[in-house]
């Protein structure tokens, strides 16, 4: 079996349609929308297209769970001793079990919301973060950055379930949230153990985590304001072992990403306006 599987070779059946992030980034409608008030991005029953936006996010979570399963599975197989001790592989195998369950729960939640597998496109940039050839960097990127993001996403969905009075959504998200806290703790634990005598490698791993965090803040997806669909879940992050300093740093990074996205939208709008008026 092949080691270090690239994202282009992930197995999917005919229901799945893959999209590239560039498709959205270079969509000429993006800058126009960024200049408009389309209501709070934060989930709520009174925001426009509440049901459709929830279904779309739920499908994104579902494909994210598939990729998390694939990432943890690859970590079991891609590395050998002593780079990846057997106990680490056992943790990853346990995570595979959790992610499989999350896939099933997400499919059922999709049914509950009235969507179906493959109704929306899949972007595989989550799995791309799970392709790092260094197991420590991979663990930091996946178990601390991405599973940390999962904490934020599940907590936002759980809050939405509570506020909309949907006991099924709230209950399911709460259970999955508990698993994600464990996954982050496993990542933190292995980061500490594998880099105990190599502070430089630890710093490289943390830098990789910050890069992945920055990618997933893209366009203000995560933050602490109403304009961020996914809210930073400080309390659950604390339970997972993130320090207050790390949470503050991530919040600051999220604010910077939101601001960058705003500036990019303004620049793109100016360019579009100039070209429509015959400028260069």
């Amino acid at each position: 079996m092949k080691k270090m599987l690239p994202e282009s070779e992930l197995a999917r059946d005919e229901r799945f349609v893959r999209t590239k992030i560039e498709d959205r980034l270079f969509d000429p409608r993006g800058p126009k929308i960024a200049q408009r008030n389309t209501g709070p991005a934060r989930m709520g029953v009174d925001r426009p297209a509440a049901g459709e936006r929830s279904r779309s996010l739920m499908h994104g979570i579902f494909v994210g769970e598939i990729q998390a399963l694939e990432g943890a599975g690859r970590t079991c197989y891609d590395f050998d001793e002593p780079d990846a001790p057997f106990a680490l592989k056992l943790d990853m195998a346990r995570q595979c079990w959790d992610e499989s369950r999350h896939c099933e729960i997400s499919v059922k939640l999709g049914d509950h919301m009235g969507t179906e597998i493959g109704e929306y496109t899949e972007s595989t940039f989550l799995f791309a973060a799970a392709c790092n050839p260094d197991p420590v960097l991979r663990l930091c990127g996946v178990n601390r950055a991405l599973e940390g993001l999962a904490i934020d996403v599940f907590n936002s969905m759980k809050t939405f379930g509570n506020e909309s009075g949907d006991p099924i959504l709230e209950f399911c998200e709460d259970w999955m949230l508990a698993d994600e806290v464990t996954h982050v703790k496993m990542g933190s634990d292995w980061l500490r153990r594998l880099t105990e005598k190599d502070p430089e490698r630890r710093e490289r791993a943390l830098e990789f985590q910050r890069t992945v965090d920055a990618i997933f803040n893209l366009g203000g997806f995560r933050g602490e304001d109403d304009e961020n669909p996914v809210q930073l879940a400080r309390n659950f992050r604390r339970l997972a072992g993130f320090t207050e300093e790390e949470n503050d740093s991530l919040a600051e990074l999220a604010r910077e990403s939101t601001e960058q996205a705003r500036q990019m939208a303004e620049a793109a709008t100016a360019t579009l306006n100039a070209s429509s008026q015959g400028g260069s």
Binding site: D23, P28, R29, T38, E52, G114
Partner: protein, 200 residues
């Protein structure tokens, strides 16, 4: 046959064709037996993309004024591509609601921008249920979820949904009664306008 006007024409941000859209509306009008002496204006907001979806159906001075997000017409699996099958479904629902508005039964209904979210969700269920019986592929669970978001995840709300879904005839008062029954009428007013996406 109703005169159908589609704006913008041409589309500049996305490759939709106003003529193709107008033809789909004419087909939808025939399917719902829409009065042939009423003209139809459709505004498509081509800046909006999925999942920023929504549509509105109003009657102003005897003309039907429709508005729809470009996201409704976009293929979920192929961004920036027109999905005729999806558009057809939405046009039928929009015209069923517009036809309701032309009848005495809905004469007292306020414009779409002034409906509460509960009223709109209930009216949509009534329209989508009829669209299904006209042979269109509708997803019941999706409609139920949207209804529950505005009317609650309760047995009372589900029973109300069932009645609307199966109903061949109801009135504006019937819609309002449903909202009283589920408690949607008692929900706090939101500061977010129902037709926010239409506002530029």
């Amino acid at each position: 046959m109703s005169k159908v006007t589609v704006r913008p024409d041409p589309f500049t941000l996305i490759a939709y064709d106003a003529g193709e859209i107008a033809a789909l509306i004419e087909d939808a009008a025939a399917l719902v037996d829409f009065p042939s002496d009423v003209d139809i204006d459709l505004d498509v907001d081509e800046e909006l993309f999925a999942p920023l979806t929504g549509h509105l159906s109003d009657v102003v001075d005897g003309r039907v004024k429709l508005w729809i997000s470009g996201g409704n017409l976009e293929d979920n699996k192929l961004p920036r591509t027109f999905a005729a099958h999806q558009a057809r479904v939405d046009f039928v629902i929009m015209l069923l609601r517009a036809k309701d508005r032309l009848s005495d039964d809905f004469a007292a209904a306020p414009p779409d921008g002034s409906l509460s979210r509960g009223e709109r969700a209930a009216w949509d269920v009534y329209a989508v249920g009829r669209a299904l019986r006209l042979g269109l592929p509708m997803r019941r669970q999706k409609q139920l979820y949207d209804f529950r978001l505005q009317h609650g995840f309760t047995d009372v709300a589900d029973a109300a949904f069932e009645r609307l879904w199966e109903s061949e005839h109801t009135t504006w008062n019937g819609i309002r009664e449903i909202c009283k029954e589920t408690g949607a009428v008692d929900r706090d007013d939101s500061k977010i306008p129902v037709d926010l996406l239409r506002q530029k």
